[in-house]
Amino acid sequence: MAEIVSLADAVARAVHDGDSVAMEGFTHLIPFAAGREVIRQRRRDLTLIRMTPDVIYDQLIGAGCASRLIFSWGGNPGVGSLHRFRDAVEHGWPGPLQLEEHSHAGMANRYVAGASGVPFAILRGYSGTGLEGLPGLDGQPAIRSVTCPFTGERLTAVAALNPDVAVIHAQRADRAGNVQLWGITGVQKEAVLSAQRSIATVEEIVDELRPEPGAIVLPSWVVDYVAAAPGGSHPSYALGYSARDNEYYQAWDAISRDRERFRRWLAEEVYGETGSLAGAGAGEGGCGP
């Protein structure tokens, strides 16, 4: 059964140095508050996993939390580059970042295999691309082929993802720790079910979950920690609770472009915060000074 704890406790108990951590949320419900808490607790040597390591992982990479990244698209959506990610890849700052790179279809299927308890997934994908020849984090080819035992057809195989920890943000949980999310639900269900441990931050904890069209419910017994984090997906959004803060994404471009400016942002907006959710409220706009 999920324990309802503070965000700081959830991160302290679930996320350890050296872990592989998947924070998912496909442009919607991105667990930004949890990401900042991981930075604040100064986790190191993480293997970060995420289909779209956008601004949330730019912050973690720039803060020196990550040594490795498994991903399929690393940009600032609607704005441009992730400058901390690029600085790590192009110049090894603040430290080298080893990459394992996939397509979205490959990553999604890797989570499905992990959630399903099978060692790999099959898909029609990657054929003829440069991604086919790239090594995984273990130095071995990350994308392989398999022959269908029924038809003899050759298909692409990718290994299951089974992160140590999955972190998601959802709209609601009830007091028993059942977690409900709706709207664009991305790959969060698969991420939680593929992981050894999981954290769900939520907009609110309610007495009873009301049915919502298209909602997913993750039962309490597949989630380890639930933490209330209202506005915890800011600057992304939580359908029904908050709107995307487009200005933050634009402001992030300038903050992240410059190492000194990024360091000031870290000092003032992450390490300097008194409460774990200061500055995380939706609609506040901007990324700070």
Binding site: F26, T27, H28, M51, T52, F71, S72, W73, G74, G75, P77, G78, S81, L82, F85, R86, V89, E90, E101, H102, S103, H104, A105, A108, N109, Y111, V112, L123, R124, G125, Y126, S127, G128, T129, G130, L131, L134, R154, G183, I184, T185, G186, V187, K189, E190, G214, S236, Y237, L239, A243, R244, D245, N246, E247, G283, G285
Partner: protein, 270 residues
């Protein structure tokens, strides 16, 4: 052309238009009513939404966030903009959109952008430079594009043309167009037909029916073949039946500016 560049023209002449507006109108015209279209963000999304707002009201817009049949009244701010989910016929998970909808070849046209594209329509969005491990520029990566390029029944690419973006060979093949030429898609087992049109800010290129090499088939008003060659990193072939394409209509310009205007209002209201 009355004006060039990405910015809105300084003149108040309502018939004046930018190269980007011409490109977006041309890309929209390549989509037909009732088509199913897997849409990338940025230029492709603007064009697909323009088509829906003008000649193709029944165009089915599908975004990789899992929104099927989205009907946004303004340009979405990202592929996961809430307006896509709120207006969609169906919202499915990311594994489902790739496995059930894209992979079996259900979707008519894949609409993609590119950082680099080569003469066989191969797309690079991964790295610029000679080596993957030590890139000169690290680009965002693949996203959904490799499988969109492989599995949609055909592909349209929208990209601004320059010597940097139009190269003889891409530094990295993120998404396959025609590989190393005729027959490559069949050898690789790619189900879709590949790029049908590459629409730039100068004109339209289409694959040669025999060699699959991208060939200039249409120019925008006021653009010359020499202009295009100066911005192409290979010996560009030009079609014998090269056309000059009509400028954006007043209806197209109004609809496109409304879509952009409402996107800005939406962002400013937050």
């Amino acid at each position: 052309m009355n004006a060039t560049g990405a910015q809105a023209p300084a003149t108040k002449d309502p018939a004046a238009f930018t190269a980007d507006e011409m490109m977006t109108a041309c890309a929209a015209r390549a989509l037909h009513d009732g088509m199913t279209c897997f849409v990338g963000i940025g230029l492709p999304s603007a064009a697909a939404n323009l088509a829906r707002a003008t000649h193709a009201p029944n165009l089915v817009l599908i975004y990789e966030s899992g929104t099927i049949g989205a009907k946004p009244g303004r340009l979405p701010l990202s592929i996961g903009d809430g307006i896509l989910a709120e207006t969609a016929d169906a919202v499915v998970s990311v594994p489902e959109i790739f496995n059930y909808w894209l992979q079996p070849g259900r979707i008519g046209v894949g609409f993609l952008g590119a950082a680099q594209i080569d003469k066989f329509g191969n797309i690079n969005t991964t790295i610029v430079g000679s080596g993957y491990a030590e890139p000169a520029v690290r680009l965002p990566g693949a996203g959904g594009a490799p499988e969109i390029a492989a599995s949609c029944r055909e592909v349209i690419v929208v990209v601004r043309q320059s010597r940097r973006s139009f190269v003889d060979r891409v530094d990295f093949v993120t998404s396959v167009g025609f590989g190393d030429g005729a027959g490559a898609r069949e050898r690789l087992g790619l189900a879709g037909a590949g790029p049908r049109k590459v629409i730039t800010d100068l004109g339209i290129l289409e694959p040669d029916p025999v060699t699959c090499e991208l060939t200039m088939t249409g120019l925008y008003p006021g653009v010359t073949v020499a202009d295009v060659r100066a911005k192409t990193g290979w010996e560009l072939a030009v079609s014998d039946s090269l056309k000059v394409l009509g400028p954006p209509t007043a209806a197209e310009l109004t609809a496109l500016r409304d879509l952009h205007g409402r996107a800005e209002e939406g962002a400013a209201a937050r």
